[in-house]
C-alpha cells in the first residue's frame, strides 16, 4: 500500500515537472529576444512595423449624397525584419452618426489592391491600376473590429498599394441627410508563425 502511494506521488511530481518544463520552453520561445546567454552567438529580436507612408485616408468628403462613392488610396508597408501572417482592419467613428451606425443604408467600405501604385486623378480622387487588381475586402458596413483582410503581401520590406472605396448606398434615405461622421482606420498585423532559426 505504501509503495502505491509513493508511486502516485512520483506520477504527480513527474507531470508537474513536465508541465513546468513545457511552460519554461514556451516562455523561452516567445519572450523577448533581448535576453542573452553565455553562448558566443548573438540572438537579436526581429521587428515588425506596419505603416501607411502614403495615405489619402485623411481626406474627407462633403457633402455627399446617396449613391456617392469616395475613393482614397494608401500604401501599407511592412518594414522590419519579420513578415506578417495576417492583417486586420478596425474602424471607428467619432463623432458618430447614422452614416456609421446604420449598417444597411449607412456607409460601406471595400478595399482593393493594385500590384503597382495606383494612378491618381482628381480631386475628387479616382484611381486606375496599371497592373492587376485583387480584392482585399469585399463591400461591407464601414464600422467593424478586426475585420480580416485578404490578398495582402505581408512580407517584410514590401508595400501593398491599396484603394479604399467608401460608398453611401443609393438606398440611403432622408434620415441620413445632414449627417456627419469622422472615421478612423487602424490596420493591425500579426507576425508570421515561428520557424527554426
Amino acid at each position: 500500500m505504501r509503495r502505491k502511494l509513493f508511486n502516485a506521488r512520483k506520477l504527480l511530481f513527474s507531470i508537474a515537472a513536465l508541465g513546468a518544463a513545457a511552460s519554461v520552453a514556451g516562455l523561452g520561445t516567445f519572450a523577448t529576444f533581448t535576453s542573452s546567454t553565455s553562448a558566443s552567438h548573438t540572438i537579436a529580436s526581429g521587428t515588425l512595423s506596419l505603416t501607411a507612408p502614403f495615405s489619402r485616408l485623411g481626406t474627407g468628403a462633403s457633402p455627399i449624397a446617396a449613391g456617392d462613392t469616395m475613393q482614397r488610396a494608401f500604401d501599407l508597408s511592412y518594414s522590419g525584419s519579420i513578415s506578417f501572417a495576417s492583417a486586420t482592419l478596425t474602424t471607428s467613428a467619432t463623432p458618430s452618426s447614422g452614416l456609421d451606425t446604420d449598417a444597411t443604408d449607412g456607409l460601406h467600405i471595400a478595399i482593393d489592391k493594385c500590384s503597382q501604385a495606383w494612378t491618381e486623378s482628381g480631386p475628387p480622387y479616382t484611381y486606375t491600376c496599371g497592373g492587376s487588381t485583387s480584392s482585399v475586402l469585399a463591400s461591407r458596413a464601414l464600422i467593424g473590429s478586426a475585420i480580416a483582410l485578404s490578398n495582402l503581401t505581408l512580407t517584410a520590406g514590401s508595400t501593398d498599394h491599396l484603394r479604399v472605396t467608401i460608398t453611401l448606398p443609393g438606398t440611403a434615405g432622408n434620415t441620413l441627410q445632414n449627417q456627419s461622421s469622422t472615421i478612423s482606420y487602424t490596420f493591425s498585423g500579426s507576425q508570421r508563425a515561428g520557424t527554426d532559426q
Binding site: I15, G19, G58, I82, L99, T175, I183, F187, Q191
Partner: protein, 398 residues
Amino acid sequence: MRARRSRRSPRARSSAGVRLAAVAGSTLAAFVVSSLALAGFNSAGTGGPMSVTTKRIFSGSRSTFPNDLRDASSGAASNKSDPLAYDDGIVDATGAWANAFSATRFFQADFNSSRPAGVPTSSVNFNIKYAGVATGNACIYKIELRRVSDGGLVGTLDHSASPLCSTGTTYRVVNEDISTYVTSTDVANDLRIKIFGYETASKAWNIEYATVTGTSYSAWTLFDTTVTDQSTGTAATTPWSIATAEATGAAGTIYTDASNWPSAAPAGTKYLQVTFDHPDLPTGAVVQSVTLRNIWRAAAAVTNGGTLCNYFEVYNGATLVETHGGTTQATAQSCNNSNVTWQTDNATLTLVDTVAEANSMTIKFYYWIAPICGGGGNPTCVKSVTDQVQATFTYYLD
C-alpha cells in the same frame, strides 16, 4: 494532539493524487498552449481621420400647385385664387355654426406636401384670419393637428377655457405655434388641421386665410389642398380646384375659365395665369430640373373640325423666361377638341434653373380655337376646363 487521519483507504488517496496531478498537468499544458496562441509581435498603422458629411437635402422631386390664379379669358384679369391662401379679400365662407362647442362641428384643412422629406423644422405656425359674418363672434374652441394619411392625432391646442373669438365682423388673426408637434417636414407634409368652433349667434364665419408657415433652412408656407367644412354638422369637402388631378370634371374639382377663348389666334390680353409663389426652395439649393404639368380639355366639344389650342409663357416676376409652343395650330403646345378627354401637357422648363426663378414662377396659358370659331358652319367657340396645374422641382441642398 493526534493528527486527524483520513478515513479514506490508501488506494483511494492514491487515486486522488493521480487526479490532482492530471489537473495540474492539464493546467500547465493549457498555459503552454495559450502562450503559443497568444504570443508574438503585433504592429498597427492608422489612417484618417476621414470626415464624411452628407447633403442637407438629398436630390429629390417636390411637387406643388399654384394657389394664385388669375382669369383673363375676357381680356381683363380677375382674381380666382384659392380663398384660404392669401389675405386678399377672397374669403372662404363656412356654413352656420352652433352657438356653442360641438364635437361634430369643425372646419378642417389638409395642406400640401411640398417640402423635402426628413428635414427638421422650426418656427412652425398655424395662421388663421377669421371673423363672424354678422353680429355674433366667431370662436375657436380647440384645434387638432392630425395626419392626413391616417387621421392620427398629432397634437391638440385646447382653448376651451378661453376660446379665441373675433369681435363680430372684425377679423381676428391667430398665429398658433405648433413647433412642438410639427418637428419635421415629414409631419408638415402630412398635416391636417381641424378647427372646432362656434359662432355666438349661430351664424357662419368668413375665413380670410389659413396657412402653415415654418422654417427648414429657409422659410416656407403650406397652403390648403382640400377643405372640409362641417360647421353645420354635415361635411362638405372642397378641393382647391387645380391642385389635384381628379379627372372627373366634377364641379369644385376643376376650374372653368370665365369666357370663350378667341378665334383663330391667341390674344395677348386673354390668358389664364397661375403663380407658384411658394415652392420655397431653400437658399443655396441647386435646381436640377423643373417640369410643368397642365391637365385640361374643352368645356364643350369643339365642333366642325375645330380644336382648342394653347401655348404658354413662363415668367419670373415680369421677366419672360421661356415660351412653350407657338401661336398656330401646328406649333401649339397642344390642341384638344374634346370636352371628355383630358389633355395632359408635361413640359420641362429648362431655363428655370435658379432658386429665384423657381420660387417666383408665373405661367400664362394662352388658349384659342383653331382654325376659327363662331359663325355659321364654323367650330363653336368654347371655354377651357383645367383639372390640374402642377410644377415639380428637382433639387438638392449641399
